[in-house]
Symmetry: C2
């Protein structure tokens, strides 16, 4: 079961002026399941996006990047679950282009004004006829208060839908930010297809919208993935409808930009953490802080070495303070000149090791107490510099194997 | 259960002139278990070793490297299971040095002539008193035909002991090679403590013994680990007792050296594969061949990306030809200019994908047929050059989680 992740309530999800959402059951993989989403954007909308770096990236990723690069105003996003349309070659591209053209026809815009997204099984043909047949239902369903249904329509092995809203005062106006996300396997997060969409009615220049997106991604979704965004389909979009009654934010040094950027980052971080909390088979939510590095890169290496070790993750699942496994992960993180005698390792508030060995006052029962908690912080003090980072992960349970062994069955 | 890994028979393990082995039950972690091994070497013996690159390397690794570097003839190896003596700081070093000094006293040599090794739980104090108390029993037990007991005495979560012998004709003499190894977790092999000891009566120079060791390691134990040898304790030793009635091999270009090197590599490869076959929770033995790379490095990146993906490994466990997961792993292996449209992916003899998508003639039942087998070969043709590599791994099952969640309990 997800770790401290309440189901979002529809009444807490605030509409965004200039954004409507329509959902359908297209039977892409399963009957009677919301699996198709159209997010329609108003005339003033601006969109920024970041995408997977995987060389086998999915057809919709290729097309979405093309359409963004074409520079025409984006009029709608089209998202399906049940099929990733990845590893599908030229035929996959043709099917994605067809879906864009069909939706463009319904909305009265050009195909280049549609951004497509897919998630689900890799290397199976996208059932384009079923998608096309359900597009009119999506369009007929377009409403501003459909955010919860939208979050449900993009789930794969997610147990809980991920969505939240936040409001801030900005330039004399109340600005709303609403985001949805989906993500499933977190054990090796570079394989977890992650989709994130955050929309706001704030007025902001394209340059600063892009900057805010990258700032937020680096502190949220990229803290739960490794090697960059490397699944076949990962995508994170930030949409500004520009409908709020305020002056456009166009100064990167302004207080308004900082406030907007931080609010978007807060929403993105909550969504990213929700993905970990709902990680496949997760029973624990684990924060890994690495401080005192010579640079952020080496802090990340150490944090991800710990976060990815199946031995560390199974020990968390078992609530077993087998902390030498964490030391070993630090040791193989790839810092060639690491002096392990300077490192302090903390589990929660408990000093576990220092001077290259177990801390003198460490007692197994103190480690055990922390390990039994559902939310655990691992802190590594490298004592080499001033850089730091935090990543989030979950433990590794029987259910992870079960979910992934049976996913297609 | 181990995959096609028969239990070695004592009568198939051939003694090596100049090498005797003594075993004891020192109760290091559990009662009534062989857990301490002394391997005594004759006056003419030469030793070559490679060790983990982990920065948190174990105390015995540090001391063994020191003693090898000191240059005195090595007279004995001392190996314990049940405790890795890793992450134990200065105290761990002192305990290891004491064990060497005590054994040296019994054998009448200097402490620098002993090489120590440990495997087991990390970050717990080595029970040195119990080890010292059992050393006389090891020495009293020294015999040439103790190889099977020696293999058993170094096991941790291994189910099957790993040992084999091979004989070749070399320079007019019959030369014997006998090796033992232990290794457990293989899912993230850079965490699996691996110990390997291969002894031979061949006469060979120190330079060529070192060269043969590195040649064999690169084609065996290093094909089942990633990021170099990065557990805290990994060690692989090649011992030549120099007792055979033959001229010393001292020419790297000679037929004799090539034959010796290849025979050692064959023994090392069988031991390395045995570690995978006995991988924690393994139900499948998987060979991953990557051909047609621009260089061996990129072939390795692709092979290890596949070999390490929990999604790929759980699909193997489920016998599910969810082959898009393999494509995705190829895509995130880190080859920036990879043209995925040129790649062919084979499962056994079945062409699965080409031209960036599923192969036209691929049928799910063909993939399913291969996936049901206990030994599976994945072949990736990159079509970028002439380099190739092969790595070996196993699948990822419920039992992996069970073994690692309960290891200390």
């Amino acid at each position: 079961m997800p770790v401290n992740l309440p189901v979002p309530q529809a009444e807490h999800l605030l509409p965004i002026d200039g954004v409507t959402l329509g959902i359908a059951e297209a039977q892409i993989k399963k009957p009677q399941r919301k699996d198709l989403l159209v997010m329609r954007l108003g005339d003033r909308a601006r969109v920024a996006g970041v995408f997977t770096l995987n060389r086998f990236c999915a057809a919709p990723v290729i097309v979405a990047k093309e359409h963004l690069a074409a520079g025409k105003p984006i009029r709608a996003l089209l998202v399906n679950t049940g099929n990733a349309n990845a590893g599908t070659g030229e035929d996959g591209l043709a099917r994605t282009r067809r879906s864009c053209a069909e939706l463009a026809g319904l909305l009265g815009c050009a195909a280049e004004q549609i951004l497509p997204f897919s998630t689900g099984v890799i290397m199976e043909p996208l059932p384009i006829e079923r998608i096309v047949a359900s597009l009119p239902a999506c369009v007929a369903d377009l409403r501003g208060d459909n955010w919860l249904s939208a979050a449900q329509a993009i789930m794969t092995t997610d147990i809980v839908a991920k969505a939240l809203s936040k409001q801030i005062r900005l330039g004399g106006a109340t600005v709303t930010i609403t985001g949805i996300a989906k993500g499933s396997g977190m054990i090796h997060p570079n394989m977890a297809t992650m989709l994130g969409y955050i929309a706001t009615d704030a007025r902001i220049s394209q340059t600063l919208l892009d900057a805010a997106l990258r700032h937020a991604a680096g502190r949220s979704f990229n803290r739960i993935t490794v090697d960059g965004d490397t699944s076949t389909n990962d995508s994170f979009l930030l949409i500004a409808s520009n409908e709020a009654a305020m002056a456009e934010i166009d100064d990167a040094a302004s207080r308004e930009y900082a406030a907007f950027r931080d609010a978007v980052t807060e929403v993105a971080t909550a969504l990213a953490q929700a993905i970990v909390r709902d990680g496949e088979g997760a029973t624990k939510f684990i924060s890994i802080q690495v401080n005192g590095g010579a640079n952020e890169q080496e802090c990340s290496q150490v944090a991800y070495a710990i976060a990815h070790s199946p031995l560390v993750k199974t020990a968390f699942f078992a609530s077993d303070p087998n902390l030498g496994r964490i030391q070993a992960a630090i040791g193989y993180a790839g810092i060639a000149d690491l002096d392990v005698s300077r490192i302090q390792l903390y589990l929660g508030d408990v000093l576990v090791s220092e001077n290259g060995g177990r801390a003198a006052n460490y007692r197994e029962e103190d480690g055990q107490r922390v390990m039994r908690e559902a939310e655990i912080t691992v802190r590594v003090e490298l004592n080499r510099g001033t850089a730091c980072t935090t990543v989030w992960t979950c433990d590794f349970s029987y259910d992870y194997v079960k979910i992934n062994a049976e996913y297609r069955s």
